[in-house]
């Protein structure tokens, strides 16, 4: 693939061009200024160590650095408290933005509290930082050392990636969820193919998605193996971001831009999807949910940066209501993505409904997703989760088996005590 300077460019190329000060194309290496950076209690302590070791004394831009205490919310031992205290001390001294325990998941807060604008270049020291691509930002997950480089210089080097154009045709049926689209993309795309590449979402199906649905697809682009997942900005974007000026900075792909690959997903004919627990260190197999119907389930997890927003919890609650509440044998764990989502549940009466059904309401944050806080599944127990990952041991117990599905499918399993197609309940 050869490109000429000044030729048509992808969204990824155009956002990086804007931030390195010259037109750049896939395959080049460039140094870019970074608009905003985020780290969690899982990554910030190491980033602070690297920053100091680099000779860092003052942050390049304190207002552009967000720390969110979300992975250990709340912490379950003194060593973790000490790690979080190092973050609090650093932020007090440097004046960067700090969201303490209970505010929610960093990725949710970056969008909800207005730290990301269309056309921005944003990094987060957590792989799911790609979620901000829904806001038309080039957002990428980095390690603590790259984050420290941004803290020190306000810049980072990037290899300009090729893009894969994903066209969503048709309209997502009301009974399905963006999670089903994400799982279908991950089933179809070879991670080797997606690696180092950006997913650029397009088509009528993409235009019809809500902002939270777009966030889910951007969020799970990293689980497809991609570097980022970017949407166009439109009125849906600016309304959700409460940034009416946002479209002025939005980036669109040029007509004739060169893509490494094209993939088309027909939303009209999509059916519920399910990721099975991995076997023997292999990647999780993604199948039609129908194939595993009736597998008994012990624990249902609603939450995370993938499935813990208001619309996800509403969708789950609709299924729970229709099915008459949760099965007595099932443990239902609910972790809202942020304090705002939590307050929204309370204001709409949904919190009371969840509590009356016997749900365990947890502190906003990453919760049980990576086994670092919250409820842990027991040995040989089967979990169905609205999260993005189910590596062996992921939820804190390598002997548990974790399925991934949409919030609606998770709720359907909570109703019946076994894997169930949510369309049979609604």
């Amino acid at each position: 693939m050869t490109k000429t300077n000044g030729g048509p460019a992808t969204m990824a190329e155009k956002i990086l061009s804007k931030h390195c000060g010259r037109p750049c194309y896939a395959g080049e290496s460039v140094v870019c200024r970074v608009d905003a950076a985020m780290a969690t209690d899982g990554s910030a302590p190491m980033a602070i160590d690297y920053f100091r070791a680099m000779g860092g004394e003052k942050l390049a831009d304190p207002k552009a650095l967000v720390f969110a205490l979300d992975h250990y919310a709340p912490p379950d031992n003194p060593a973790t408290v000490a790690l979080q205290d190092r973050i609090r001390t650093f932020s007090a001294e440097q004046g960067n933005i700090l969201y303490d325990i209970g505010a929610g998941i960093g990725h949710q807060l970056m969008i909800e509290r207005g730290h990301v604008r269309p056309g921005d270049l944003v990094v987060g020291a957590d792989s799911h930082a790609v979620a901000y691509g829904a806001a038309n930002a080039f957002a990428v997950g980095v390690g603590s050392s790259d984050l420290a480089a941004v803290m020190l210089t306000g810049k980072l080097w990037f290899r300009v990636p090729e893009s894969i154009r994903i066209e969503l045709t048709g309209k997502l049926p009301a009974s399905l969820d963006a999670k089903d689209i994400a799982l279908e993309i991950n089933r179809t795309l070879d991670p080797q193919d997606a690696s180092y590449r950006v997913l650029e979402f397009t088509g009528e199906g993409a235009v019809l998605l809500t902002f939270e649905e777009r966030m889910l697809l951007s969020n799970m682009s990293t689980d497809a193996g991609a570097k980022a997942g970017i949407f166009d900005a439109d009125a849906v974007t600016t309304t959700y971001l409460k940034n009416q000026d946002g479209l002025r900075h939005a980036i669109t792909a040029d007509e004739g831009a060169v893509y490494a690959k094209h993939l088309s997903i027909d939303l009209n004919t999509l059916t519920p999807r399910l990721a099975r627990p991995p076997v023997g260190g292999q990647a999780a197999e993604i199948v039609e949910l129908g194939q595993d119907v009736d597998t008994p389930v012990d624990m249902v997890y609603l939450g995370t940066c993938t499935g813990g927003r208001q619309s996800d919890l509403e969708s789950a609650l609709r299924v729970l209501r229709a099915g008459g509440g949760k099965h007595p044998r099932v443990q239902l764990v609910v972790t809202p993505a942020s304090d705002k989502v939590y307050a929204g549940l309370a204001a709409d009466g949904m919190l009371e409904e969840f509590i009356k059904m016997g749900a365990l309401m947890m502190t906003p944050g990453c919760g049980s997703c990576c086994g670092t806080c919250g409820a842990i599944p027991g040995d040989e127990k089967v979990v169905i989760s609205a999260a993005n990952r189910n590596f062996t041991g992921r939820m804190g117990n390598p002997k548990a088996r974790v399925f991934l599905a949409s919030p609606a499918a998770c709720a359907a399993a909570a109703v019946t005590g076994k894997i169930t197609d949510p369309r049979t309940i609604m």
């Binding site: 290496s29 460039v30 140094v31 899982g42 990554s43 302590p45 190491m46 160590d49 690297y50 070791a53 680099m54 000779g55 992975h71 250990y72 912490p75 379950d76 031992n77 060593a79 973790t80 790690l83 020291a125 957590d126 792989s127 997950g141 980095v142 390690g143 603590s144 050392s145 790259d146 420290a148 480089a149 020190l152 210089t153 810049k155 980072l156 080097w157 290899r159 991670p191 080797q192 690696s195 180092y196 193996g225 570097k227 260190g281 292999q282 990647a283 990576c370 086994g371 670092t372 806080c373 990952r389 590596f391 062996t392 041991g393 992921r394 804190g396 390598p398």
Partner: protein
Amino acid sequence: MARADENAGDAAGAFTGAARLVGDDVNTDYIISSRRKRVTIDADALREFLFEDYDKNLGASIQPGEILVAGRNFGCGSAMEVAVTVVRAAGVPCVLAKSFARAYYRNAINNGLMPVICDTSTIDEGDRLEITMLDDGLNVINLTKDSPVETASFSPIIMDILNAGGITSYLRTHGDFPEAI
């Protein structure tokens, strides 16, 4: 942090090591479980948990100087940097893989762990590998099979960071990135 810089010094010149094989799609949680890093981020302390949920025996038996040889998509999943520093703490200087997940590749470079993209399908467990640092990448020879392994080259910025011993010493020396790389 000093560890990465010290050990990266090994990279200069040629060295040999035995191949230790892992499969495709080895994710960062298999390298080091997320739940371990909530107690400590000290790579030496985390060393004993290397590969605990993937292959405990492999994790326990890896010796300093041995070379990890993986299939495709090595280091997928989380961007957590302990998945690189714990491999360095085990004394592994270099990972060969058919492909790497992007964040792992960057983290490896930043910590002086050389990530080498090559066809690893001809390498068997225990093969002696000889690795030589070149101006734009690494030369790998499988001494056991008496055959060269073709490797992808590194871009100039990656070579600069690896030659500095990692991003920490690179930025401590230069203070900033150059305008053009």
